[in-house]
Symmetry: C3
Subunit: 159 residues, 3 copies
């Protein structure tokens, strides 16, 4: 068959290293002509946050979540050896030394490669995140849209 | 093809938020007429524990595991921002406010939708969990049964 | 079709329990005649480290990572209830009692069953791991090789 292959990733994790793995696989799959979707849910939404504070009206709980969660990909911690924030700096230092691409640039590259970046509206609601706090040119959808993509996927991962 | 689509999830994690994601995807897939299996292994078994203590004979180690692990879905912690138990309360408060369905009800809904809930017998053994400590109307199986389902699955996830 | 079924696992996690789950599924799938690949990336590479120190030249950061990360499967911690190293001992004790196979033996078994064990060269570079520090008879590859396996996979998991 000459059908386009499909890759879908649920990015649940808010860890820098896990998000890197997700975006490296996604960009690789797009380079091999897969149709790729990354569905960001729960803490994975933080990868899509703009890095500057955005003025939005929020309730108390939503404000607290907003303050405690990392504002954008560059501020996320590591899943292992985070050492109160030292770990991400170490990883970023070795990444620079080895010319590895940092997460914010991996996300830009994904957008340039037309990878569909989706924010899960149900969990945005729970965590009090609003559209204008997230990157431009992303899509908003729920679990039904994810399943419609994944049921024809060749590679489906939950990260 | 008019074949039934299949979704399988290995629920390894004992985190409230990850179990929620698993059950939301599972219930969604069942609503779209997928045949759905959730295979609970390791800490994911805690989602199937009854919330009251059950009198069973156990060795010392098994008793310790039994005491230390959360007794049922409602007592599980968060994968991020758990804050010694404050996090789950916060999440449950915002969930109530936004009319999101709590995990125990998501599990009930899964049973009503005939999602096959399986407890991994090998890890039950390791963690000293016995059948009468777990919810009624679930199945007991090992990795072979999981693979038999997954090898024909359209969406297979490890959470 | 009488085609060989395929299972691929990305082992990202450096946790003893998650690596056990990965190797149990992999060995199960190989027993059912699947072609199986485990692609070790990030902390999952630690499962492939030899347990003795190997003399290699490294920069400062690479030395630090090398010292801080567990040297081989037997030294990995748990994803839950690690209790500063007590948890793995507890798990290994109950495993012995129940005749469950410890992780280093699960890895040996995987090699005997011709499961393809791959180390991700990009993350080896980042974490400063060199080929002679890892087990013999494994393969070295990048995300392109992983995707080539996974796009025809029946069961693809990220652990």
């Amino acid at each position: 068959m000459s059908e386009t292959k499909k890759t879908t990733i649920v990015l649940f994790s808010g860890d820098y290293d896990k998000a890197m793995a997700a975006y490296i696989i996604a960009n690789g799959a797009a380079a091999y002509d897969h149709e790729v979707t990354i569905f960001h849910t729960f803490w994975g939404l933080n990868a899509l946050r703009k890095d500057e504070p955005i003025a939005v009206k929020k309730g108390f709980m939503e404000k607290m979540f907003g303050k405690m969660m990392p504002r954008g990909a560059d501020k996320m911690g590591l899943s292992k050896m985070n050492f109160a924030g030292m770990g991400p700096k170490m990883i970023k230092d070795v990444m620079k030394k080895h010319n590895a691409i940092p997460l914010p640039q991996l996300i830009e590259m994904a957008q340039e490669q037309d990878i569909k970046l989706v924010a899960c509206t149900m969990t945005m609601d729970l965590l009090g995140l609003q559209e204008k706090e997230l990157l431009d040119n992303i899509e908003y959808a729920g679990v039904a849209a994810y399943l419609a993509d994944a049921e024809d996927g060749n590679v489906n991962l939950f990260i």
